[in-house]
Amino acid sequence: MDFLTLIQVLDSTVRMATPLLLACLAGLFSERAGIFDIGLEGKMLMAAFFSAAVAAVTGNVWLGLLAGIGASMLLSGLHGLASITFRGNQLISGVALNFLASGLTVLIAESWFRQGGRTPSLLTEGRFNGIELPFAIGPSEAEAAGRPLSELIGEANVIQQIWSELISGHSILVYVAALMVPLTWWVLFRTRFGLRLRAVGENPAAVDTAGVSVRGLRFAAIGIAGVLCGIAGAYLATGLQAGFVKEMTSGRGYIALAALIFAKWRPWHALGACLLFGLLQAVALRFQSIQLGGVSIPVQVMDALPYVLTVVILAGFVGKAIPPRAGGQPYVKER
């Protein structure tokens, strides 16, 4: 494997990791505040559909993004209503949202577009396109030289390869996701809101007796989760791919949850965990069959890798992960 291939796989890793990372950070906010969020999957799916649908109809990807965020926030609100206001079971509420999203997206897609549960393919202006950073070799250079882009990059030096292939050329949402990591860390550990958010996930009674609203904090947390899932979904449908297809999240919400546990609810670790899962997905995409000592490993094995890792992590093989102490419990004032 040459250096350029490696860079290309890593580049693909970044793209695959982006929706995972956004969803994982969404889960981080929610669970740090003591609300289990198994509905990441549903929120992403809903956001993917509405962003693609609105982008397809209006031709404006930013409107699409807004619609995706709105749809995801709506589900977050439902989750909050069920699990915060009415103190319902957070897992059941989340599962219900996933079912709702899975059915509703296909149903509305069929009713609006009649293309078998998908949205029309998005054209350039309906998508988030790659941003070319300064000094990077991109499509415009390739056009000017009249040669394929990969050839140009292949001839460049190592630093230029890394810069042009790995760092440059992603859509704005990828950079947003990357910036969210330090931002999340800063909010959690350097602001008043973060202190209270973490406290409410550990001991809501402490927050309550300190005169701060437990409800308000928890709604704020799942609101943030809604926005992040919205961006993740929009990226799937308008950045990574060109349009919505049925069940396009394909378990990413659950993988994000696994990554969250793997990361032990810490932002920087979440980045690492999501990159690991992204790498597995990228490897599966790139190497559809591998020859290992004369035995050819079928493509299905590669495709299954991220999910296998999810199971392994959830089964607790990766050290002891202690979740926020009040996670999953509705807060009831005691007498």
């Binding site: 008043r192 973490r198 550990e202 300190a210 701060v212």
Partner: protein, 509 residues
């Protein structure tokens, strides 16, 4: 005369049909320690919750420093200068002391300036009130006594003038409790007003200036402590004369019933809870195990009761019993003549949603008297329950009532009746009067003494030193899973036991 620090006028609060507070009026002078005493369910906690904005009173007014004040939520209570130290601390365990103090009282959106200001202010408070804590330690790294200081500091940091403490000594060693009261004394001399809620008469008598007594939601009296007596207060609490001391004739210990050698217990987390214990309990004596909660007493009881595995050896009437595997379960223990009143009646002693008569049979439901062919003889069971309820004065004496519908004292009586009435050779009894009102305490203590005088062996575990001293014939103190020392009950006192409980080894242990 200055305006009262707090004045409540005609406070009433009902939860459905239950009148938790009825027309309560009370006036507390600034710079005093005011005690509020009453049995469980008398309405003390409800009253304080109203004062801290957890509940809204149905009727009545709250006046603070001469101004009428509405307290709709905790925020308003804090603004009015009220600080509360709850019985169960409201601290975030994996936060530092400093973070806990700042939480909810930050200066701005950014954390760092708040924390550094708090650090400075903490130092001043520390010097002013001699309240030392390390601000950078995490809550789960410090002991309960320290945690309580953090709660007090939290209130002071919020400029509390009135400090309410709910059962503050329940989790403390005697030495820690003494320290607490020194701090409270200091706070009083600095002009703070302190409301002390407790069910311990001794604390009221020793430390308060005035005391209010509550019974069944009503304030029955407010008196100057100096002009009152424990007997008078107890009578006001219960509504009748109460025997505060247990009548005790000297024990006549017989042959050893329970012999424990090198008993150790390791819990599921791999922590050794009981370390190489040797103990003997003889017929006709009560061995009391004293210690601060969490020093291995619970595990000791559980392993003896067959609820947990251990290593070492135990013998009952000279017969060895297995400590793990076959024959080490609770059923086998009962068969061997051990009865067990577990520490936590609501979790281990009863099934709260089941009827009283079902609860009376648990553990003994295989006995012949309850059998009718293949089935349980429910009628016999209920008759048996009624008989026990009458003998133990369980109120109301209705076998059809769910266990959770009884008061704490009556629940405990059901458990004690079930276990004592089997005529066991050995009774294991943990926290026999935790959350039990004075009237029921008196009764349960009498039952335990009677069992002893019938020549039974009793192993008593309690965190209440007074209870240990008044019931036991011998006292062993547990600390960190080990027996720190054993003393005849009439040759020791709270001070000596308190030192042992804190892990200070006595001479000739």
């Amino acid at each position: 005369m200055t305006a009262p620090a707090i004045e409540l006028k005609g406070i009433s609060k009902a939860f459905g049909p239950v009148q938790a507070n009825k027309d309560i009026s009370i006036s507390v002078q600034p710079g005093t320690i005011h005690g509020i005493i009453g049995e469980n369910g008398a309405g003390k906690s409800t009253l304080m919750s109203i004062l801290y904005g957890f509940y809204k009173a149905d009727k009545g007014e709250i006046w603070i420093k001469g101004t009428k004040t509405e307290i709709p939520d905790s925020q308003a209570a804090i603004a009015a200068g009220i600080g509360m130290v709850f019985q169960h601390f409201k601290l975030v365990e994996n936060f530092t002391v400093l973070e806990n103090i700042v939480l909810g009282a930050e200066d701005s959106g950014l954390l760092m300036p708040s924390l550094s200001r708090a650090r400075k202010e903490l130092k001043e408070l520390e010097e002013e009130y001699e309240l030392y804590v390390d601000p950078d330690k995490r809550i789960d790294e410090i002991g309960v006594g320290m945690q309580q200081r953090v709660e007090i500091l939290k209130a002071l940091y919020r400029k509390a003038e009135i400090l309410i403490l709910d059962e503050p000594t329940g989790v403390l060693t005697p030495a820690e409790a003494d320290q607490l009261f020194r701090i409270l004394d200091r706070l009083r001399s600095e002009g703070k007003t302190i409301i002390l809620i407790t069910h311990k008469l001794r604390e009221i008598m020793e430390y308060t200036d005035t005391v209010s007594v509550m019974r069944r939601g009503q304030m029955t009296a407010t008196v100057k402590t100096a002009e009152s007596s424990p007997e008078q207060l107890a009578e006001l609490m219960v509504g009748r004369k109460v025997l505060l001391r247990v009548d005790k004739v000297p024990a006549t210990p017989g042959k050893p019933i329970l012999e424990i050698e090198k008993l150790s217990v390791v819990d599921s987390a791999g922590v050794q809870r009981v370390k190489d214990i040797d103990l003997t309990v003889r017929a006709g004596e009560i061995l009391g195990i004293a210690g601060v909660a969490g020093n291995g007493q619970s595990e000791l009881l559980e392993v003896l009761g067959g609820m947990r595995d251990g290593t070492g050896s135990i013998r009952i009437n000279g017969q060895p019993l297995p400590l793990s595997g076959k024959g080490s379960d609770a059923r086998a223990r009962r068969h061997a003549g051990i009865a067990h009143v577990p520490e936590d009646r609501q979790r281990e002693g009863l099934i709260m949603d089941f009827h009283a008569w079902e609860n009376v049979a648990f553990g003994y439901h295989r006995e012949d008297i309850y059998k009718k062919g293949l089935f349980l003889d429910n009628a016999a069971l209920r008759a048996d329950t009624e008989a026990k309820m009458e003998k133990f004065d369980v109120r109301p004496p209705n076998p059809w009532l769910a266990a959770k519908s009884f008061s704490g004292g009556n629940q405990q009586k059901i458990v004690v009746a079930r276990e004592i009435e089997r005529n066991p050779d050995l009774l294991l009894i943990g926290q026999p009067t935790r959350g039990v009102d004075i009237g029921a305490i008196e009764f349960i203590h009498q039952q335990i003494m009677e069992l002893r005088d019938q020549g039974k062996a009793i192993l008593l575990v309690s965190v209440e030193l007074e209870e240990i001293l008044s019931l036991s014939d011998r006292v062993a103190v547990m600390f960190d899973g080990k027996i720190m020392g054993e003393r005849p009950a009439d040759q020791t006192d709270e001070k000596e036991l308190g030192l042992l409980m804190a892990g200070v080894a006595g001479e000739a242990a």
